[in-house]
């Protein structure tokens, strides 16, 4: 099956010394909700703009359903964009904004009118047809921008941090709505965001970018549970890093000499960094005997306790001197530990992953 979007070896340089996108190759499947995630300046927006045709790649090929269009102007591409600032035309009414794409493509008047009514209804903006963008709230502008793009029935919809300007509550509501709309229309969505939570909850797959490079592509679970390097592990969620050396049988020797099991494909003797999420750590009494054998155990001391409402955070010192964060859900049976208590911590063998370099 041809990919909805096929990106091959795409590089974008601005001037001589700025490489915004560095040799990115990627296939986006038809009908999927794909997020490009990364910090600002990582090249995700430039990548999106190249798919839209608002920038042209310095090298490489971009195909949509097999059709090469790396160098085609934006108006000759079967894609539409929802811009970060919405970019609604301020001199046109909601209706005119939504109808713009159809008018440009000379769709017959009667059909345009029907589709505009339908598109405005789909984003729950019926009755606002004659308002100007200035008279709308941020969330309403967002809906109009979405209607204006979707009415054209693009093969791929591009969204550039569309929820960035909204407040938290509205953002969460719009996340669900966007996801529903995507399921309904069945169009491939490419969604650019720097918000890892947004990417995790909305996407079928995520591509993590940093400094112009595509570091990892995978499902939200893969990205969170099996990050390929320190950057991905740290950017998505919170994590602990523990330095060590890989030994045989998927084990890692820590600074103090104790060995723990971890997921590892590092060669024996290689320097590795273990990544271990705070919520994967459990705390037991020092003399606990009921810890299952598939869990690694380490003696430790509680150095700090923070109350977060739905959870407790403990800072724990392990024998090598490293400080780890552990997060324990605030359930009624939770045992609490005072600062200074000597405890044993445990984590599942598959909870820790050894990252090389």
């Amino acid at each position: 099956m041809t990919a909805a979007v096929g990106i091959r070896g795409v590089t974008k340089r601005f001037g001589d010394d700025v490489t915004a996108v560095d040799n990115v190759s990627l296939d986006i499947v038809d009908g999927e909700f794909f997020s490009l995630l990364g910090p600002s300046g990582c090249g995700k927006t430039t990548m999106l703009r190249m798919i839209a045709g608002l920038e042209f790649p310095t090298e490489g090929s971009i195909q949509i359903f097999g059709e090469e269009l790396a160098l085609k102007p934006p108006n000759k591409r079967p894609v539409n964009t929802v811009f970060q600032s919405y970019a609604l035309f301020p001199h046109m009414t909601v209706e005119k904004n939504v109808a713009f794409g159809l008018e440009m493509r000379k769709v017959p008047k009667a059909e345009t009118a029907d589709r505009v009514t339908e598109a405005i209804a789909a984003v729950h903006m019926t009755g606002m047809e004659n308002r100007k963008p200035k008279q709308l709230s941020g969330g309403q502008q967002q809906r109009v921008a979405l209607a204006r793009a979707l009415i054209n029935r693009p093969k791929v919809l591009l969204l550039d941090e569309p929820l960035g300007a909204l407040d938290l509550k509205l953002r969460q509501a719009m996340q669900i709505e966007l996801k529903d709309i995507q399921a309904e229309v069945g169009i491939t969505f490419i969604y650019v965001t720097h918000d890892q939570e947004e990417a995790l909850t909305m996407s079928n797959r995520i591509g993590v970018m940093e400094a112009g490079k595509l570091l990892q592509v995978g499902t939200p679970e893969e990205i969170y549970e099996r990050p390929v390097n320190r950057f991905v592990a740290e950017f998505i969620g919170e994590t602990n890093f523990i330095d060590g050396i890989a030994t045989e049988d998927d084990r890692v020797r820590l600074a103090d000499g104790t060995e723990v099991y971890a997921i590892s494909d590092a060669p024996v003797g290689a320097d590795v960094t273990l990544t271990l999420r705070p919520e994967k750590i459990q705390i037991h009494a020092r003399d606990a005997t009921n810890i299952p054998p598939e869990r690694n155990q380490l003696p430790a001391t509680i150095t700090r306790q923070l109350y977060y409402g739905e959870s407790f955070y403990y800072e724990i010192e392990i024998p090598g001197g490293e400080l780890l964060d552990a997060r324990l859900e605030n359930i009624p049976s939770l045992r609490r530990w005072d600062v200074g208590t000597e405890v044993t911590i445990s984590f599942h063998r598959e909870a820790a992953e050894a990252l090389t370099s």
């Binding site: 839209a52 045709g53 608002l54 102007p73 934006p74 108006n75 894609v79 539409n80 964009t81 811009f83 600032s85 970019a87 609604l88 035309f89 301020p90 001199h91 713009f100 794409g101 440009m104 493509r105 204006r148 793009a149 054209n152």
Partner: protein, 298 residues
């Protein structure tokens, strides 16, 4: 605001807010007062005076005779000669505005879209440089260029396309275009520079070609600049005096010169006053229509 700050212990009751508001509006009035006084003495009062004069009989020396009222001068506006001068003035002012826009828009667009701020400022200074020397001097320079041995005349004769233009309508047109083009470029530049280019990208993304995106987005959104520039060019062109006086001949009298003639050799102050009031009214009507029309697209 200061009032509230002065009494931090008092709570902001509606009473206090009203007081503050009143103080604010008085402050505003006093700030504007000098300007009001100036404009009333030197603008409103003279305007009333010339309006009154336009209804008086004239004495033998051409001065108004107060107390003897007539509508003669207002009826005289219908004379063929007056009408010809009027139409010529409006036509030239219109032509000048249209050509300023035609020349000024691409130029302003080009300046506004330069990436480097230094370059933009440099180009703007170039637009302003002509103002560093006196308008009269510059108009005399045009006289030299357009005269028998002038550069422009020589080029015209060498190519066989035109002859000596001085003291003709084209000479006045060129002079006006030269004089008022910067007044078109500057507001256009300001409007285009403030444009949100995301909107143009959005139009391109919605299947508009480069030209369509310009017509549907860039042009309507730079309308404030077009309106401001057109007013700034049209109005002074309509009342222009120096340019037609120096570059035009007897056959190209414009309203400005015609009015001056009434007060001097024509010895007819009341008719001069009538013409002045008319031109003012014309400008006001033109401005209002323009703003109304422009207002809809904004």
């Amino acid at each position: 605001m200061t009032m509230l700050d002065d009494h931090p212990s008092e709570e902001a009751s509606p009473e206090l807010e009203k007081k503050a508001e009143r103080a604010e509006s008085w402050r505003g009035f006093f700030t504007a007062l000098p300007t009001y006084v100036f404009l009333i003495i030197f603008f409103v009062l003279p305007l009333i005076i010339i309006t009154v004069i336009s209804f008086t009989e004239r004495s033998r020396t051409g001065k108004p005779v107060l107390g003897e009222w007539t509508l003669e001068w207002w009826i005289k506006l219908g004379d063929p000669l007056v009408r010809t001068v009027g139409f010529r003035s409006v036509w030239l002012a219109f032509l000048n505005t249209a050509f300023s826009l035609l020349l000024g828009y691409p130029f302003a667009y080009w300046i506004a879209t330069r990436k480097s701020a230094i370059m933009r400022n440099f180009l703007l200074v170039l637009v302003l440089i002509p103002f560093w020397s006196n308008f009269l001097v510059r108009t005399y320079a045009w006289r030299t260029l357009l005269d028998s041995n002038g550069l422009i005349t020589s080029i015209g004769e060498w190519t066989g396309l035109w002859g000596k233009m001085l003291f003709t309508e084209p000479a006045v047109f060129l002079g006006l275009l030269y004089g008022y083009l910067p007044f078109m470029v500057l507001p256009l530049y300001a409007a285009i520079e403030h444009l949100d280019w995301n909107l143009v990208e959005a139009a391109r993304d919605l299947y508009a070609g480069a030209w369509k995106a310009f017509r549907k987005v860039t042009l309507p959104l730079s309308m404030p600049g077009i309106i401001a520039g057109s007013i700034l060019v049209f109005i002074p062109s309509l009342g222009a005096y120096v340019t037609p006086d120096l570059l035009g001949g007897a056959k190209t009298t414009l309203l400005g010169n015609y009015i001056v003639t009434q007060f001097k050799s024509g010895r007819n102050w009341p008719f001069g006053a009538t013409l002045s009031v008319t031109i003012l009214a014309l400008m006001m009507i033109a401005t209002i229509i323009y703003f109304r029309k422009g207002g809809k697209t904004l």
